[in-house]
């Protein structure tokens, strides 16, 4: 029982990272119809940025948690203005080429300066130690990640469903042309939404720094699973991306714990789930078939 709860908790923590990254991908895809293959690179930059800020300037974790998402969000907005917005009128292949190329450039720039070895990042002192849940202990930092990620997801959901900005984003996502005909400058919202999605990736990166190995390829490893999460949840579905993020975290953790005698299954379980979901619901669990423009 204790083992099961611990596995579950660990699954939710991995799921928190998937959810934050998938959420960013979902809002970006919804608004821009661009699949951002560079998302993992921005996650990596978030973690690396936190590491560099601490080791070279003594900037603590808490400051990095604010600085990196905002900084990367601004970088994302600049990249959207410079490159990404050109994709709207082009074949989707260019979407892949541009954002994947961006990934390689960002990864190699970091490699060039810091090499490929992993850098350690100490858990902030206020969050070291563990929390006693009665029947099991759990690292305080992981409890913090889980709470923080849930709060961020709830906050984003609240903004999207309860504010005028959220209403405009939903309308622009669902039917951009119609929304323009109702007097709304859809284009004005594209850049901030892209920056926001990138900021979420950066935030996940900073959160990952104390518990994952900080290295230039950390995003590349993670993003493959995140894409499976996005597809399972339904491309562009905000709720689906978050639910599938936590769900896949759980499935993965349980798979590793209870199917370890079948390594082939436990290592590929995410993609098995994805295949089954797509056979059953081609648009993903919470996706809607694309309405004709």
């Amino acid at each position: 029982m204790t083992g099961f709860l611990q596995n579950t908790f660990n699954g939710l923590v991995s799921g928190a990272f998937y959810a934050l990254l998938a959420l960013g991908l979902a809002v970006i895809f919804g608004m821009l119809r661009v699949v951002n293959f560079a998302h993992g690179a921005f996650y990596m930059l978030g973690a690396f940025g936190a590491y560099v800020l601490l080791s070279e300037a003594g900037v603590p974790f808490w400051a990095a948690l604010a600085i990196m998402p905002v900084g990367l969000g601004l970088l994302g907005m600049a990249l959207e203005r410079a490159f990404i917005h050109r994709l709207t009128r082009l074949d989707p292949l260019y979407n892949f080429l541009l954002t994947f190329g961006l990934t390689l450039i960002l990864q190699d720039l970091v490699k060039l300066r810091y090499g490929v070895q992993s850098s350690p990042y100490a858990t902030p002192s206020a969050l070291s130690g563990s929390v006693d849940f009665g029947i099991f202990d759990f690292p305080t930092y992981r409890v913090f990640i889980l709470g923080f990620a849930v709060a961020v997801c709830v906050g984003v959901w609240w903004v999207l469903t309860r504010t005028r900005i959220g209403m405009v984003v939903r309308a622009s996502t669902e039917r951009p042309e119609l929304t323009r005909a109702f007097g709304i400058n859809v284009g004005r919202w594209v850049t901030p939404v892209f920056g926001f999605g990138i900021g979420l990736a950066g935030l996940a990166g900073v959160l990952a720094a104390p518990m994952r190995a900080v290295n230039p390829l950390m995003g590349a490893d993670l993003i493959i699973v995140v894409f499976a999460v996005v597809v399972i949840g339904g491309l562009g579905s905000i709720f689906g991306s978050v639910a599938a993020g936590f769900g896949i975290g759980l499935v993965q953790a349980w798979g590793e714990a209870y199917l370890s005698q079948f390594p082939i299954v436990s290592q590929t379980i995410v993609f098995i789930v994805m295949a089954v979901v797509l056979l059953w619901r081609p648009a993903g669990l919470f996706g809607r078939e694309e309405a004709p423009a």
């Binding site: 405009v168 669902e174 119609l178 005909a181 007097g183 709304i184 400058n185």
Partner: protein, 230 residues
């Protein structure tokens, strides 16, 4: 209010409008009738600024709006009632109504909309696509009235509606007209058209074939109906 001169439009290589010129005076209700594929909807889309391949002049209150994007045109007072009713699945009924900013001097308040459409009030927190077809049509019309749009561009607002609802749409358009709202209407239902409109343009193969008043449409109803293939 609206002046269109030598408007041509293309879908790729295919030309769907050929040098169309027409005028709608402030406070008028004018219909565009014609067969399917005659270019009626394209003409509305050109006025709204939603069709890319076009040439010619579109003037609103004497101002050339041909180069303005759709959202700027809407803010000048254009109200868009699309043929598919334009309901958002991810927005509630209330959100569908309040999404557009108010753009005219005489917008309906949300209270007034809900007073006029109790059915919408009852389902105000439901997704708009959960409404019946007739309710969605009322929602589309109520939305542009709430904007306070001065020129409504309505693409077949009666299509697929029961006679009772068709009458309701007619009442609504007549009331809008009484308040000085101008309407350009794509319509196949001639009986409905003569009941709400002042004048009619017959569009054929992308050209204005004829301009008619109500008495002319009534006296030639049979001929027109057989031409329209109804």
């Amino acid at each position: 209010m609206l002046r269109i001169e030598n408007l041509s439009a293309w879908y790729g290589e295919a030309q769907v409008l050929r040098e169309v010129s027409l005028e709608v005076q402030a406070g008028e209700v004018v219909t565009l009738v014609g067969r399917n594929g005659a270019g009626k909807s394209t003409l509305l889309r050109c006025v709204m600024g939603l069709h890319a391949g076009q040439r010619g002049t579109v003037e609103l209150d004497g101002r050339d709006v041909g180069r303005l994007p759709a959202h700027r045109r809407a803010r000048l007072g254009l109200g868009w009632v699309p043929d598919d009713r334009g309901s958002y699945a991810t927005l509630t009924v209330t959100e569908n109504l309040t999404l557009p900013p108010t753009v005219g001097p005489d917008p309906w308040s949300l209270e007034r909309v809900y007073e006029a459409f109790p059915a919408l009030y009852e389902r105000r927190d439901s997704a708009a696509t959960m409404l019946s077809g007739g309710e969605q049509q009322m929602l589309a019309l109520a939305r542009v009235l709430r904007m306070g749009a001065r020129l409504l561009l309505c693409d077949e607002p009666t299509e697929g509606l029961s006679p009772l609802l068709v009458q309701q749409v007619g009442d609504l358009l007549r009331e809008a007209k009484r308040h000085g709202v101008t309407v350009l209407l794509v319509e196949q239902n001639l009986h409905f058209a003569t009941g709400v409109a002042d004048r009619h343009y017959l569009l054929a193969e992308g050209r204005i074939a004829e301009a008619m008043d109500n008495s002319e449409v009534r006296s030639r109803e049979r001929e027109l109906l057989s031409y329209l293939g109804i």
